[in-house]
């Protein structure tokens, strides 16, 4: 069901990831201000963008679940949010490493982009206890979808609020007018973003395939158990 086209997608992901890494370390020039440490940008920022996109996508899938009543959309939404939380851990860890190297501190509380990402991450950490505290599968799916929609709407609102905030201390390399990235850096960043997006979709499909297979197995076991009861 979910494994259709998986092999070519996985292959495209590997090729794009390898290309991105090659561009990061052998093509993109060193940043005049930060030097070699700026290479963290190519893993940290795409990971953050894809994680936030995954949260929003989880909300959109939750809308489809509530509209159609099809539980497969709830599973899709759950896996998207689950993967985004894993990437979120990576964003916070790589961000802390970058902060330590650039500013001399692992974390700074007066930096709105950092803190707002932490707020979004902690909000989504509530998703697990909410989801798994409900035993009835139908209610679990419905409540989780409502949460995913509300939290998914909060993600862009949160970052719009940050953009409107007065204190701009985070390096602003991307903007509507094109930002301050030179051509080679921009190409490297876009390839890295594409690689991260493909990685997300590949892992999303992988987990969905595993979940679908586990559900099919449970169904098969139930049928076999029922058949045994009938024959005895």
């Amino acid at each position: 069901m979910y494994s259709k086209g998986f092999r070519s997608l996985a292959l495209a992901t590997v090729v794009t990831l390898a290309t991105a890494l090659t561009l990061v370390f052998f093509y993109a020039p060193l940043d005049a201000d930060q030097g070699f440490i700026q290479k963290i940008f190519y893993v940290h920022v795409p990971m953050a963008i894809v994680a936030l996109g995954g949260f929003v996508a989880g909300g959109v899938m939750a809308i489809r679940h509530l509209r159609s009543g099809d539980p497969s959309w709830d599973v899709r939404s759950y896996v998207a949010i689950h993967l985004s939380i894993i990437l979120g851990v990576g964003v916070l860890a790589t961000g802390a490493i970058w902060a330590k190297a650039s500013w001399g501190h692992w974390w700074v509380w007066d930096e709105p982009v950092l803190v707002s990402f932490l707020v979004v991450f902690l909000l989504y950490c509530v998703y697990y206890p909410l989801r798994f505290s409900i035993e009835d599968p139908g209610r679990q799916a419905r409540y989780s979808s409502v949460f995913a929609i509300a939290a998914g709407a909060f993600v862009p609102l949160n970052f719009i609020a940050v953009r409107l905030a007065e204190a701009y201390t985070h390096p602003r390399v991307l903007s509507q007018t094109g930002g301050s990235l030179p051509g080679e850096m921009r190409l490297t960043f876009l390839v890295s973003l594409l690689a991260m997006t493909l990685l997300f979709v590949t892992l999303w499909k992988l987990e969905l395939t595993a979940k679908h297979a586990a559900m099919q197995l449970r169904r098969l076991k139930r049928r076999l158990a029922e058949r045994e009861v009938v024959t005895t």
């Binding site: 070699f36 963290i40 893993v43 990576g90 190297a101 892992l203 992988l206 595993a210 197995l217």
Partner: protein, 50 residues
């Protein structure tokens, strides 16, 4: 802060990429273990049915 020298910056850059790689490898290993368990249980079911 001025840019860190390459030998010092290299540790941080390597750390960031290792974090990313570790996350992906651990995630794929967990999913791989799940798929292996499903395969094992399916094989057992088929053997029991025969």
């Amino acid at each position: 802060m001025p840019a860190l020298p390459l030998d010092e910056a290299g540790k941080y850059v390597a750390g960031a990429y290792v974090v990313f790689l570790t996350l992906i490898v651990v995630y794929v290993a967990i999913i791989g273990a799940k798929i292996a368990r499903i395969d094992r249980e399916l094989t057992e079911l088929v053997e029991d049915d025969e």
